[in-house]
Amino acid sequence: MGGGGGGHGESTTYKGFTIHHPKRWHVVTGKSLCAIMWFWVLYRAKQDGPVVLGWRHPWEGHGDHSHEHGHENEVL
């Protein structure tokens, strides 16, 4: 593989065994994408979790309209 931002950062050698530390952008990008993945998983779990687990039908809505005080008896 050529350059173009690749390669490695610092190295650590211990008893003849060398391990190269990754570049900062590799670490930041990898952690960012994993963070995006977990945020997405948890967000969708919050939105669709009850439906996936069978606790609620998809057409029943979220049911968390406690802030809309004037619409409790409204027929949708």
Partner: protein, 526 residues
């Protein structure tokens, strides 16, 4: 009077006010030129402008299919003069243009589901005007909605693979030949999915098999590569023979190879028997022969497994008539997913695990077709393309960094050295196993649900085998992650000394595929 263009509609010349501006002769400048005129506020006929735009868009549909062929031809015939970088830039640019045109065409077709046909006569006249003696194939491109989904998947994934390969094959002296081989399936797969007749489907089918052979045998000095290619070709030919017999049977029955005519006639009640000393229902025999073609193609090891599913979905109206054929397809797909998964848990080669995983997922697509849910099968194919391409590119990055070491048992502890590649593999693996809620979850869950709610013996058979396959898929996916990245290192010191994570040209396609592996399933879910 402005100089003429290949377009037949002379009213595109937009009146005398344009005499002040030089009109380019090459038609490829026609559209941006018109846009420039419109911005200057000159009056012109909007309908004529739209007509010209549509004529250009007609050509765009042809370019989607033929640009990769052009790139492959240039790389193959002139690679020695263009060099590694030149062939890489040309092939990647042309395939990327094909991908962009696919997106534009999808935008045009998808909102109104407009049926779009490209008449060969108009294009023959245009192409002949551009270059005398050009051979124009007498085919008709039909672009319904699902076809464009396939085109987008094929061209976009191929363009990312081209981009990745620029750096991956940078040090290989045969890089121009590789880029040529890489563009060949990018031509034949769109050719396969856009055709309206069996002959064009067969042409694309054979071309994909040829491309598979060429790519397997790229490093022809390696004995294992020669043996694998030599094995793959006759196995593929067995399936192609079945497909050819099925096409011949259809022609015998319907006296045509045109899909629309066949599907229109398929509903007509008939008791056709093809006798070879055996009484057989014609529809059942034809569908099973076509399915043998799909089975033969799926025996290929590699990432290009779209062809079987494209063929299944393309012939779906015919498959609905013989219930026996559907049961055979469901059972075969379920057994494929199970057997491939059981084989995958015993592999130690990094790429073989992913290859058998591909075969297992293909089984899902096949049995989804067998339970008559063709759109769900295409949906899983689209999702699978993203996370499987991500896994293969990441595996290639690891193997190349570890001095071509492919045995997972000789890796270990790479998460600290390859954090980016580890993140990519983790995203791809979670999507593959159907973990909620990345891409793979939406299609795998739907397939298993549909199999269960079929309430037939074959449906339940597919459901239980598919569910056990999910278990095995999870096992070998996490085994791959643990052995490669998480366990204490078992690799040679010299391999760790030379290893490094992916450079930016290899990282960009991986990031795009990772985004697709996370969000495409939710965005496109049915």
């Amino acid at each position: 009077m402005p100089r003429g263009t290949p377009f037949n509609n002379s009213s595109l010349l937009i009146g005398t006010k344009l005499n002040l501006l030089p009109l380019p002769t090459a038609s490829k400048f026609q559209v941006p030129y018109m846009l420039l005129v419109s911005m200057t506020g000159d009056s012109f006929d909007c309908l004529q402008f739209l007509s010209g735009l549509l004529n250009t868009l007609d050509l765009m549909y042809l370019l989607i299919v033929f640009l990769p062929l052009l790139g492959s031809s240039l790389a193959g015939f002139f690679g020695r003069f263009l060099g590694s970088e030149g062939t890489a830039i040309i092939t990647t640019t042309l395939v990327s243009l094909s991908s962009i045109f696919s997106l534009i065409a999808f935008y045009e077709v998808a909102p109104g589901a407009r049926f779009k046909s490209v008449e060969p006569v108009n294009h023959a006249s245009r192409l002949y005007a551009w270059g005398r003696g050009l051979v124009v194939l007498p085919f008709l491109l039909i672009q319904p909605f699902l076809r464009f989904v396939m085109l987008i998947v094929v061209t976009s994934i191929s363009s990312l693979v081209h981009l990745y390969s620029i750096t991956y094959m940078h040090e290989d002296p045969h890089s121009p030949r590789f880029m040529c081989y890489l563009s060949i399936p990018t031509f034949f797969m769109p050719m396969l999915v856009t055709g309206d007749n069996s002959l064009q489907l067969f042409l694309g089918w054979e071309g994909v098999g040829l491309a598979s052979y060429l790519l397997i045998n790229f490093w022809f000095t390696r004995l294992q590569a020669d043996k694998a290619a030599t094995k793959a070709m006759p196995v593929n030919r067995v399936g192609d023979f079945g497909l050819a017999l099925g096409i011949s049977g259809r022609f015998t029955l319907f006296q045509t190879v045109d899909f629309s005519t066949i599907f229109a006639c398929a509903s007509a009640p008939r008791n056709s028997w093809i006798s070879c000393n055996i009484r057989l229902n014609a529809y059942t025999l034809i569908c099973i022969l076509l399915f043998i073609g799909a089975v033969g193609k799926s025996a290929q090891i590699g990432s290009h497994t779209r062809s079987p599913d494209a063929m299944e979905a393309r012939c779906s109206p015919l498959f609905e008539y013989p219930p026996t054929a559907l049961i055979v397809i469901t059972s075969a797909g379920a057994m494929t997913s199970f057997l491939a998964a059981t084989t995958g848990i015993l592999q130690n080669d990094l790429k073989r695990v992913i290859a058998y995983s591909t075969c297992s997922q293909l089984g899902y697509m096949i049995f989804a077709c067998g339970i008559s849910n063709y759109s769900v099968s295409i949906f899983h194919l689209m999702n699978h393309a993203f996370f499987k391409a991500l896994l293969f590119l990441s595996a290639g990055s690891v193997i190349h960094a570890m001095s071509d070491e492919q045995d997972m048992r000789k890796m270990g502890g790479l998460a600290s050295s390859f954090p980016f590649t580890y993140a990519m593999m983790l995203i791809g693996s979670l999507s593959l196993i159907g973990f909620p809620f990345p891409t793979g979850f939406y299609s795998k869950d739907v397939i298993l649900e549909l199999a269960y709610t079929k309430y037939t013996f074959s449906g339940n058979f597919a459901f239980w085998l598919g569910s056990v396959s999910v278990l095995f898929t999870s096992y070998y996916s996490f085994r791959l992650l643990f052995l490669t990245f998480l366990v204490p290192t078992n690799s040679f010191g010299r391999d760790r000394f030379k290893c490094h994570d992916a450079p930016i040209p290899m990282a960009i396609p991986s990031i795009l595929l990772a985004i697709g592996s996370l969000f495409v399933g939710y965005l496109a879910k049915v």
